[in-house]
Assembly symmetry: D2
Homo-oligomer: 239 residues x 4
């Protein structure tokens, strides 16, 4: 009879021990596996992977994501004054990377006859950009860094899915080459290592806020893909 | 023949002269009349005015707007360091007013058996709050003040619509008494006067950004009512 | 022989145990006792306590501190968006308190024929105000709260020194009544309790930065008294 | 008799017309010529120009300015989110330039046996850095840009003075080559053009605040040279 009691205790201890051994990012990725899977299996990604995405749908993603990538530059810049000295150079490198991403968007847009002239952020894009900036200013550095990591990790994983099936001759393959690349993967690993190190040296209250930001960021990512696919505009507004 | 040419010129001159004589807020309210009407005729407001709003729909507005009113406190606070000395005291008064609004929400929620315990902002609410904070930090003071004015003016006008029909005995009438009151109207007039004065002393580029923020704020307001009515959650997420 | 080894260990253990039992603020006040004493024994305070301070020297302190108290309003306001919900109301109360302090300055200045018209911050005052605002924006909330606590504690202790000797009929006694009061002491105790609670839940790196800000704030306080006494202007500038 | 009245009017009109034709930066440089001359004729610069500066005095400038140049990186970064799109790339280039300046400091320090290990900012340096950050966050973009321009223009002009006399074989000549170079001069000209363009499109109140920041920045620059020369520490603190 005692064994009945002991068994669940044993199991709990194991889980507890495993949790303890897990880094912050491992914990969050495991805890939000369902959300993460919703993101990586979004029809936008699967149709792109399978070469079935409509050109005009891909174009609306390109237009919106171009604006989002551009908005990441002030976000990264706003992190610098709050971050440790040894993060300043990496942040500069990210800004340079974002400038190269914008070149990629412009080159691809040009190649397929899409123009970014006068493009405005749609509601969900506008909201996500506000989330970036509000977090950069009001949250602590480890909290804002959680947003950065989660968004970059999400992009890496999303484009790894597309890579699984997309024809390397596809006109969209350069995006795979950018975000599913080993180089980008190393950058995400670097962010992960830095974030996990910070997470192991914050208090309980801040740790909880970091968890909240991880979850919020995955949600914004999913909503962004949904907007790209459906063309969702401002809720409740007839234009 | 000359008269044919002169006539449109005369008309244009009149329009031009009228524009010149119009304040910033008059210009914006006229320019975005269609959007403004979409807001003041939102079914949430009309059904509330007509005493037909479902209790659970009104409750979901109460929960979300409670969080939004609370989030306005850090927004107002963030304006103080950027604003002129003579705005500091009025901003303190607004924070006191927001605290009283929260009391009103709590009193009404209590009266009708609604609890704010553990309520989280839905997507559109979260987005709007991020817009407040991102604007407070990255925009100029006159730009951020435009957001403040537009949101308060929108609330005043929205509840003036409800006031036209709602039975003063209604359990929702205290909200009418708050935002449709003469006192609140005077506060909105004060904001309008200050904003118009600032708008007359900014450069062209900043004036344009103020116009953009006026329009964005009306859109966020409409989307907020839409969320309150439809219960819209995070786009693309199955929970 | 063993006793020789045991003895120092015993002593160390005692010190270590005492340190462990000490709160953050106790630790800092003990560690920087020399600096703290330099502040509380500054000739400005001792001469004021002994009724020997020259009127024009006291007047230059009044003018500069009036500006500093005023500058504390945007500092406190900038803390709100970064702080926890239960700190918002106390911060509002501090702003109200600062407005009352400004009234006190104006009343006293009036009573003794001093005018604040067109007064500009001298170098050290300007620098201290920049330190407030830069910290509010770039440091974490517990770090910025350390500045707030240290400055308020410094003022309480400074005026407690003056209280020891100043004639209650003195024209400067109302300042004693303000900062050496039991009420102000309770406010400082409240800040101390909140700060110690936060300090016990931050990581090592943040704890170190909090210690640095404590020390910096005491230094700025001393330099402020020095400026008030000597009338020090901008270093190296002949006017 | 009328001529008596007319004459001063004529003179005033000429001055007025000249003022109108002058750009913001020309106006400020003319208005604060005395302060500017105090800066460019500071004994630190003249002794360096004449090869008479003591090595340990030059070393204390190197240590402090190294910290200041480093602190300019978060300052520039904090400007990005508030600035127009076409300033982002130039700001990135400035960060790259600052990193190169730090390399220059390290190389020179190495060459002459000076170490930056554990160097802390002295009071005036700490204050100036706080002024950078507080301005970046609380002031408008044109105001913060005024600080950037004035500090860079001050450095260019200061080192042009040194260039007039310093032996190109001097161990300090690489600093002349950096800030007195034509390339750096072109960068200052670029900042001047951008600032003048912004200044011509702001309101009166903001224009006045820009003028205040110009003057404050020159004062901080002079005080910095004074600190470098005299080794001034925290006012009123005995260590």
């Amino acid at each position: 009879m005692a064994a009945v009691n002991i068994q669940p205790i044993t199991v709990n201890t194991t889980i507890f021990a495993r949790r303890l051994a897990m880094s912050f990012t491992q914990q969050q990725l495991e805890k939000h596996q369902t959300l993460w899977n919703q993101m990586t299996s979004h029809r936008f990604l699967l149709e792109t992977r399978d070469g079935k995405i409509a050109d005009d749908i891909f174009a609306q993603w390109m237009k919106q994501d171009y604006l989002f990538v551009r908005a990441a530059i002030p976000f990264i810049s706003a992190l610098v004054p709050k971050g440790p000295l040894h993060h300043w150079k990496p942040h500069s490198d990210v800004v340079a990377m974002l400038n190269k991403e914008m070149d990629l968007f412009e080159e691809r847009a040009n190649a397929v006859g899409v123009s970014f002239e006068g493009v405005q952020p749609w509601f969900i894009n506008h909201a996500y950009i506000q989330f970036l900036m509000a977090t950069a200013y009001t949250a602590s550095y480890p909290e804002a860094y959680t947003l950065l990591y989660t968004a970059e990790k999400a992009y890496h994983d999303a484009w790894l899915v597309v890579k699984e099936g997309l024809d390397p001759q596809s006109k969209w393959y350069p995006f795979v080459e950018n975000w599913a690349s080993e180089e980008f993967g190393q950058y995400v690993n670097y962010l992960q290592g830095e974030l996990d190190a910070m997470a192991s040296d914050v208090g309980k209250a801040e740790h909880q806020r970091m968890e909240d930001i991880f979850e919020l960021t995955v949600k914004y990512e999913i909503s962004f893909w949904e907007m790209a696919y459906t063309g969702a505009q401002w809720p409740g507004i007839q234009s």
